[in-house]
Symmetry: D2
């Protein structure tokens, strides 16, 4: 049996098929680009999944063998079945899987349900973004500079109606006067969730070395912890805790 | 027009009808007892609602005129309609209403969906509880002693799989060796949520002076803030922020 | 006896005496400007204090009658006596006084000692700043728009080595590509601390209506809570908590 | 050059010399017991230090080669020199060293100054304690059960006037009706601090397998991160962030 982190990169994977300028950047889908850089790590085993695959890309057998689920969705959030979302949510809360929600996944059902948010924000034209490292001692910030520039990204702006995170690790500056909390770590149930904003389908951010390092670090951070007991729903306690 | 805080106390209201020992404690329902002590405050206007009322107690007109919703449910969480839960969730996230979830509402749909949790905990026999004040400068702790005793309450125990709160204000000791984070404040969307553990239907906790003070303070804390702008879903930004 | 919030605005008050361009903006000191707008509130009673006053502006009798201490210091942090800082720190931790640290007070002894930080940040030329409202349901954000513009402020930039706050309420955009967490609420001991970044001595920010509203709201938020018991150092417990 | 985590276990080391019943439990000092179990880990290199050693146990050369400082002090907090405390504080804030404060170190100068607290709590007789695991996905909780019992520990009780932590990982139940937040993780500056309550000199807690696992995990968690840039005090920014 392998000790590798089993990662599934789930992509809506439609813009890349229907829009030429998106396909030009991510010819095999942005999930394939993410897989490419994750594949360089010996401790990871990466699988691709897409909305239009059978079982919406996540049959039970695959989901039950996923340690970290990376999620990119945008125009078809509503098509993702509630049953699948419930399975993802359960698995994260039980500490069996971490979730990394990328970019427009702020409005995806898994992110909204697991974290507890409507995902509201404001958005605008593609422009220059500067990503600032706010918590350099956090594992996801390992090896990063204090900031880096993305020449073009979609504007996402505050107010972003997410809960205050357990760790706010990145904040971003946008050319037109806007800021955004762009890297957020949440502990939910016995699991972990990381939201990271860069990654519009029209922008080559997933080729950026720092973005790659962040997602790579994120996978290691979000991977399930070594929990020393089983988590079950609402057991009835029949003994004194001191007698065990 | 009134400036009072419009409170609705929603109760599943079944145990009090079917179980004699519960009815003996709360003859008109525990929501009526809660209304009784809230009614002593000039700044509040309190309405009762129950699961078996028309529209499950919360027709749109009432919900749209509710500032703080107090929720007590236990055996019938699953009967509450998802459409109603979605309306409650939206209203809290938009900052138009606060939610106070009492006792077994840790497993209610509104609490779980809004906060982002499966609500898991452990539980056991009724026993002595000591409630500790962990954050005396918090508005909900105003005027409270550093601790108080409840002679009998249902055992609720850690691990409690809720998110780390924005403010952890109460922690409880139970006779049999267990502890519980019993007072939790969450900011969600532009709204506020307060979870408070005492209040099992078989125990007279809602007659306790400190429990009454806590719920009273909680109503004032959870009431909607004076938000100086309208919250809408995902507006497109077409100007520079600096030009406005 | 008055029920007013007793505010002391403490200012280093040297730049205004020695630099003509500063004096032109704040002829009586920036603390006097702050007093002017606070004085419009019936629930506040405001006193001025300055470093070069007797007892560095805070004789015991004044300090012991202060509910909220507003602190502005810059070039003379080192001159503030450790004994005075210790008294301020004690009073905040005991829940008897709140602290509002303005602008360059990020490096002041009271702010650093009370919150637990070295206060490090980066800084640069005066430029356009946009202040974003990140937590509209917070009392300090009452009545504010989602953002406002300051035509000129001193650049303060991340990384800002402060602890993650209990509430992050403002974030700022600066023209040259920098961002800053500009409004931070901390609970410390039984007291409250609010840090707010705008207010360089060369910039007229304390005349801005939103800055004034924020500081006014901040005074009300930071004022001592109604704590229902006395806080003392490390009492020995000789009885069971359940027997009281 | 070694890649091991360089740990220094600093102990006041006086009770073990002067009190027979303490010496009976920890004949070579409790720091020696802590070193014994840490030494079983290949990735750690452990040094002992004591208050009455030259330079109070921490000459500059040792301190500058310490990755994690474990601190146990009790009756002689006041003897620790402020100059030494300042060096420790600087090193933690700069992300060069983590601090683990054990038991009565809640009142030590390093813990109080770095975290920002007066360290107040209540205390009482030795008695049974149950330690509860509140955040099983945290690295310090790796491999732990949901709770474990210490047959005898010194009572420490709430209210504990520490800041709300970045992660609350343990909470404890005490026989006489008291509870305590017994495991607290703080991020401060670019460094990390872990406070853990068990470890009274009269109790054999440092021989407990779970306490040993927690401190071992704590060392790995508190060790300095791989920070990709140098942290310096308040640099002046002379270029646009977007031009770099």
């Amino acid at each position: 049996m392998s000790n590798k982190i089993r990662v599934v990169v789930w992509n809506e994977f439609r813009h890349e098929k229907t829009k030429a300028h998106v396909k030009a950047i991510y010819p095999d889908g942005l999930h394939a680009t993410i897989k490419s850089f994750l594949d360089k790590n010996d401790d990871m085993e990466v699988t691709l999944a897409a909305l239009d695959d059978p079982d919406q890309g996540l049959p039970d057998e695959l989901l039950e063998n996923t340690d970290v689920l990376i999620w990119w969705g945008h125009a078809a959030h509503g098509e993702v079945k509630d049953e699948l979302v419930a399975k993802i949510q359960d698995r994260v809360y039980l500490g069996k899987m971490g979730l990394i929600a990328l970019h427009s996944a702020h409005m995806s059902k898994p992110f909204r349900n697991i974290v507890g948010t409507n995902g509201f924000l404001s958005w605008g034209r593609n422009q220059k973004e500067v990503v600032w490292n706010l918590l350099p001692q956090h594992p996801i910030c390992a090896g990063l500079p204090d900031h880096f520039v993305l020449e073009t990204e979609e504007l996402y702006s505050e107010p972003f109606y997410v809960p205050q995170p357990d760790a706010l690790i990145f904040g971003s500056w946008f050319e037109d006067g806007y800021i955004f909390r762009s890297g957020l770590c949440y502990l939910r149930g016995a699991g972990k969730v990381f939201y990271f904003q860069p990654g519009h389908e029209e922008c080559p951010s997933y080729y950026n070395e720092y973005v790659q390092k962040i997602i790579t670090n994120g996978v290691r951070w979000a991977a399930p912890a070594n929990i020393g007991f089983e988590i079950v729903c609402c057991p009835q306690l029949k003994t004194k805790a001191t007698e065990e």
